[in-house]
C-alpha cells in the first residue's frame, strides 16, 4: 500500500518563524519598509505623470512650511491622538472597540447641547460642563456594548460597529429636526457655536492639544502604575486568570469601556467646539477607524501613539497641500497614503517571520 510513486515536491516557499529580533534590527527593518514605501509610491506618482521628488517634498513642506501649516497639522493630530488613547484602554483589555466613531459623535452631541442651549453660562464653567458631557456621552456609548458583552457575551466588534451608524443618524435627526438652525433658510444645519462656547487657543491652535498631551501622560500612568490599569492588563490576557485572582471581571469590563468611550467622547467635544465650531455629521470623519491603526502601530504605548499620530497628520496635511498645488485628485492622494501604510504594516510580518525558498538550505542561516 505504500504508493511511493507520488513523490511530492518541496514547496517553493515556506514561512518560518524567526528568532526574536533585536531592537536595532527592528528599527532597521522599519526604515527599509519606509524607503520601499516611498519607492513604490514614487512609481505610482510617475505613472500619473508627476515628479516623485517634487511631490514628496511638497508633502513635507506642506506640513511645515509656515506657522499656519504647522498649526493645521497639529489640528489634524488632536482628534487622532485622543481617540487612539481612548481605544488603547479597550484594546489592552482585548475588547475590540471599533466604535470610536460613534463614541466621538455621542460625546460631541452631549457637549453640543450645552454649547447650543446654555451658551450664556460663564465661559470656564461652560467648557468644563461640556468637557464632562463629552466624556459622559462617549462613555455611555461605550458602556452599552460592554454591558451586553458582560451580560450575554455578545460580539463587541459588531456591536460597537453598528452603534457608529446609530450615532451618525442621531446627528442627522438633530440637524433636520429639533436642533435645526432656524436662520439657515431651509438648508438643514446646526447653528454655529457662540464664541463663549468655543475652546480657547494656545499658540494659535485650539486648546485640545494641551488636553491631548496631558492625556498621554495620564493614560500612561493609568496603564502602568494603577491597580485599575493592572486589572485591565490581566483581564485582557485571560479572564480565567482575572477570576482566579479575585477580580470582578464584569465590573472591570464596564469601567474600562466607560473610560475608553469617554476619552473618545472628549475627542468629539474638542473637535466640535475647537475645530468645527458646530456639530457637523463629519465630526468623527473616519478618525475613529484611523485611530485603530495608530494604536496598533504604536503597540498600545501612549508615547508611541503621540509620535505615530503626529506622523499620520503630517501625511494627511501634506497630501492635502499636494492635492491643491498640483491639482491631483483626492483619490490619488489616498492611494499614495494607502501604499505607504501597506508597506509599514506589512513590515510587521517580516519582523516575526521570514521566507525560506526551495533548495536554499533552511532556517540554519
Amino acid at each position: 500500500m505504500n504508493n511511493i510513486n507520488k513523490k511530492a515536491k518541496e514547496p517553493l516557499m515556506r514561512t518560518v518563524k524567526r528568532a526574536e529580533r533585536s531592537k536595532m534590527d527592528t528599527i532597521k527593518l522599519r526604515i527599509i519598509a519606509f524607503v520601499l514605501a516611498l519607492f513604490a509610491g514614487g512609481v505610482f506618482i510617475l505613472l500619473i505623470g508627476y515628479n516623485p521628488f517634487e511631490l514628496y517634498g511638497t508633502i513635507i513642506s506642506g506640513a511645515f512650511r509656515s506657522e499656519m501649516a504647522i498649526q493645521a497639522t497639529i489640528k489634524f493630530m488632536i482628534p487622532l491622538l485622543i481617540s487612539s488613547l481612548g481605544i488603547t484602554l479597550a484594546f489592552i483589555m482585548q475588547f475590540w472597540n471599533i466604535g470610536a466613531e460613534g463614541q466621538i459623535i455621542m460625546g460631541a452631541i452631549f457637549s453640543s447641547y450645552f454649547a447650543l442651549f446654555h451658551s450664556d453660562w460663564p465661559h470656564l464653567l461652560l467648557l468644563v460642563v461640556m468637557f464632562i458631557a463629552g466624556f459622559v456621552g462617549g462613555g455611555l456609548w461605550g458602556l452599552i456594548p460592554a454591558y451586553f458583552k458582560s451580560k450575554f457575551n455578545t460580539n463587541e466588534t459588531l456591536f460597537t460597529l453598528m452603534l457608529n451608524y446609530i450615532a451618525l443618524h442621531v446627528i442627522s435627526f438633530l440637524r433636520d429636526g429639533p436642533w435645526k438652525d432656524p436662520g439657515s433658510s431651509g438648508f438643514p444645519k446646526i447653528s454655529r457655536f457662540d464664541a463663549n462656547a468655543q475652546l480657547d487657543k494656545i499658540f494659535g491652535v485650539q486648546f485640545g492639544w494641551v488636553i491631548g498631551l496631558i492625556l498621554v501622560v495620564i493614560v500612561y500612568i493609568y496603564i502602568k502604575n494603577t491597580k485599575q490599569g493592572y486589572e485591565i492588563s490581566v483581564v485582557g490576557e485571560s479572564q480565567a486568570t482575572a477570576k482566579y485572582s479575585g477580580m470582578n471581571v464584569k465590573k472591570i469590563i464596564l469601567r474600562t469601556m466607560i473610560l475608553s468611550g469617554g476619552i473618545c467622547g472628549i475627542t468629539g467635544m474638542i473637535q466640535s467646539s475647537g475645530s468645527d465650531i458646530t456639530l457637523a455629521s463629519s465630526v468623527a470623519g473616519g478618525v475613529g477607524f484611523t485611530a485603530i491603526i495608530v494604536a496598533w502601530l504604536a503597540n498600545l504605548n501612549p508615547f508611541s501613539i503621540l509620535v505615530v499620530s503626529f506622523l499620520f497628520s503630517v501625511l494627511e496635511k501634506g497630501s492635502s497641500v499636494m492635492q491643491s498645488t498640483y491639482g491631483i485628485s483626492t483619490y490619488s492622494a489616498s492611494v499614495l497614503q494607502g501604499i505607504i501604510l501597506f508597506f509599514i504594516l506589512g513590515c510587521e510580518f517580516f519582523i516575526r517571520y521570514k521566507f525560506v525558498f526551495r533548495n536554499k538550505g533552511g532556517a540554519r542561516a
Partner: protein
C-alpha cells in the same frame, strides 16, 4: 502489499534538523525503524520528540536532512502526503467529529467513492478482526469512552492503509487496564508487520511494549538501546543526563486535624451534564490527599468549586466551620481563609503570560495596599527571593513568564502560592509537562508544606506518583467519588478498577 523484508527499513531519518526561531527543536537526528518493530521515543518535555514525529506526519517540514520511507527518499509536505506514504499519526488530542458515528469518522476525508454503509461496516469489521480492535461502527463518538475514541483514531489510520503508526502519549488518558488492551493491539499489529513508534513518559510502559528505545535530550538523539538490555535507571540517566534517585519521600505527620470538610458537593456543567455528584471528604492538616481519575472525571470541577470559581449546585465546603460556597474568590481571600489553588492551566489561569515575575507576584495581593496606585516594591523583593530560593532560571524578574520553561513557570506559580502561607493548598497536575528533575523538586516542596501542617489536595495523573506521595487517595469517576483508600495499602490495579467505575466496598477510611 506487505513488503516487509528484514533488510529494509520502514523509516530512515538522516541528519534531520528543525529550528523554531533561535530554538533548536531537533539537530542532526539519525534514526531508523524496521517493519515489525516497536520503537519507543523517550525524552523529557521539550526534548523534541513531538517535533520529530510531526515532521514524519507532514505537519512540520524539516530545515535540513532527508526522510526515507521503505528505502526511498521522500518529501512529506502535508499530512495527506504522509498518509500516501503509509504513515499514520495518532495525536494526544483526538481529532474526531463528536456527533458522527465511528464509521463516518473513519471514512471522513478519504477520497474514494462512498461505500454503502453495509459494505463499509464489513470492511471495518474485517480490519478490526485482523488486529483485534474492539469497535462498534455505528456508535456515536460522544457516547464513547476515551479508550473507545482512541480505538477509532487507530482504526482511522489503519483504514487508510498505514503501515507505519506513530502514537503520541497514547496512555496518558487511559487506565492501567485500558493501557494493557492497547498494548495487546499494538503487539498484534507488530506481528502483522507494521512499524510502530510510541512516544511516552512512563518508563515501565517503555520497558513492557518496545523492542528498542531512542532517547532524545535537548533536540539531540542521545542513544538507541535494545529494550531487553536496559532498565529504568539507565533510561532515566540517559534521558536526564545524570543519575537521578526515583524515590519519593512520604513523611508521616502525627497531629492531624480536619481543616476542610466537603459535604454532598454537586456541580452541574454549563452544558447540563453532571460535573460532580455528592462528593464527601475531609482534608486534614499535614496530609496529602491524592485525587486519581481518568482525565475529565470531575477533577477540574472539584478544584474550582472549592476555590470559588465554579457555581455549585448543592452541598457545602466548610473551611474552619465556615461555608465558603457561594462566595467569590475575593470574599474567600478576605475571610482570612488562606487557601491556595495551583490550577492545571498555569499560563491561562494561574499566571499572566505576558507579564514578568514581579507583576505576577502581586496577582492576588495587589489590592492589599491602600490607594489608587500599585506598589511593585514588595513583589519585586518576593520575586527575587523566589528566584534564589527555588533556583528559578530567568534572565531577570521582569522577563515575561511565558518565555520561561515549563518547570520554571510552575516554580513561579507554586512559589507564589506557598509564600502566602496557606492552610490549604490545592494543586492540579503540578508536574504536568515537567522533566524528572523539576518534578522531584515540586514533590519536595509539597512535602515541605505538609511538614509545616498544610493540608494538601493533590490532583495527579501518574498513579505511581500518587501511590508514593499521597497519604490517602480519593478516586473519581464520571464526577462521582468511588472511595478513599490508604495509599500504603492499595495497589495500582485497585485504583484502576475504581477509576473505571467500580465502587469500593467496605470501610470508608474517612470516618
Amino acid at each position: 502489499m506487505s513488503k516487509s523484508s528484514e533488510t529494509r527499513y520502514a523509516i530512515e531519518l538522516k541528519d534531520i534538523s528543525k529550528m523554531f526561531g533561535s530554538v533548536v527543536a531537533n539537530e542532526n537526528i539519525n534514526l531508523s525503524i524496521k517493519y515489525g518493530e516497536i520503537l519507543a521515543l523517550l525524552g523529557e518535555n521539550g526534548s523534541g520528540k513531538t517535533t520529530l514525529m510531526n515532521m514524519l506526519s507532514g505537519i512540520y517540514y524539516p530545515d535540513a536532512g532527508t526522510i526515507s520511507v521503505a528505502g526511498e527518499e521522500v518529501t512529506i509536505s502535508s499530512p495527506t502526503d504522509a498518509i500516501d506514504f503509509g504513515i499514520g499519526m495518532i495525536h494526544q488530542h483526538f481529532k474526531l467529529v463528536e456527533i458522527l458515528n465511528a464509521m463516518d469518522n473513519i471514512v471522513l476525508g478519504t477520497k474514494e467513492k462512498y461505500l454503502k454503509p453495509k459494505v463499509l461496516k464489513d470492511k471495518i469489521l474485517n480490519i478490526s478482526n485482523k488486529f483485534g480492535l474492539e469497535i462498534e461502527p455505528e456508535k456515536k463518538i460522544y457516547n464513547m469512552s476515551v479508550s473507545e475514541k482512541q480505538t477509532v483514531e487507530i482504526m482511522k489510520v489503519l483504514y487508510r492503509g498505514a503501515q507505519i503508526l506513530i502514537l503520541d502519549e497514547p496512555t496518558a488518558v487511559l487506565t492501567p487496564q485500558e493501557t494493557e488492551k492497547l498494548f495487546a493491539i499494538l503487539r498484534k499489529m507488530k506481528e502483522q508487520g507494521s512499524a510502530i513508534i510510541i512516544i511516552t513518559h512512563k518508563l515501565h510502559e517503555v520497558l513492557s511494549i518496545s523492542d528498542r528505545v531512542a532517547i532524545l535530550r535537548k533536540g539531540h538523539l542521545i542513544d538507541t538501546v535494545e529494550t531487553s538490555k536496559t532498565n529504568e535507571n539507565q533510561l532515566t540517566e540517559l534521558m536526564v543526563g545524570r543519575p537521578v534517585s526515583l524515590k519519593i519521600e512520604r513523611p508521616d505527620m502525627d497531629e492531624k486535624k480536619t481543616i476542610l470538610k466537603v459535604i454532598d458537593l454537586s456541580v452541574m456543567n454549563d452544558d447540563g451534564t453532571t460535573g460532580l455528584k455528592n462528593i464527601n471528604f475531609k482534608l486534614k492538616s499535614g496530609e496529602i490527599l491524592g485525587v486519581a481519575g481518568i482525565a475529565g472525571s470531575g477533577q477540574k470541577e472539584l478544584c474550582e468549586s472549592i476555590a470559588g470559581l465554579t457555581k455549585v449546585k448543592t452541598g457545602a465546603v466548610l473551611c474552619n466551620k465556615e461555608n465558603i460556597i457561594g462566595k467569590t474568590p475575593d470574599e474567600i481571600i478576605n475571610l482570612g481563609i488562606s487557601m491556595s489553588f495551583v490550577p492545571e492551566d498555569r499560563l491561562g489561569m494561574g499566571l499572566v503570560g505576558s507579564m514578568g515575575m514581579v507583576e505576577n507576584m502581586m496577582l492576588k495581593s495587589y489590592k492589599k495596599n491602600k490607594g489608587f496606585f500599585i506598589d511593585k516594591k514588595p513583589s519585586r523583593k518576593l520575586a527575587e527571593e523566589l528566584v534564589k530560593k527555588l533556583g528559578i532560571v530567568t534572565p531577570n524578574v521582569d522577563t515575561p513568564v511565558r518565555m520561561m520553561s515549563g518547570g520554571n513557570v510552575q516554580k513561579v506559580l507554586l512559589g507564589r502560592e506557598i509564600e502566602s502561607n496557606p492552610n490549604v493548598l490545592i494543586t492540579a497536575y503540578p508536574v504536568r509537562g515537567l522533566d524528572i528533575n523539576s518534578s522531584y523538586m515540586i514533590y519536595d516542596l509539597l512535602n515541605e508544606q505538609k511538614k509545616k501542617g498544610v493540608a494538601i489536595l493533590f490532583i495527579g495523573e501518574d498513579l505511581d506518583v500518587l501511590l508514593e506521595l499521597s497519604d490517602r487517595i480519593m478516586v473519581l469517576c464520571h464526577g462521582e467519588m468511588k472511595g478513599i483508600v490508604d495509599a500504603k495499602a492499595t495497589t495500582k490495579e485497585e485504583l484502576g478498577l475504581m477509576m473505571t467505575g467500580r465502587s469500593l466496598e467496605g470501610v470508608d477510611l474517612d470516618e
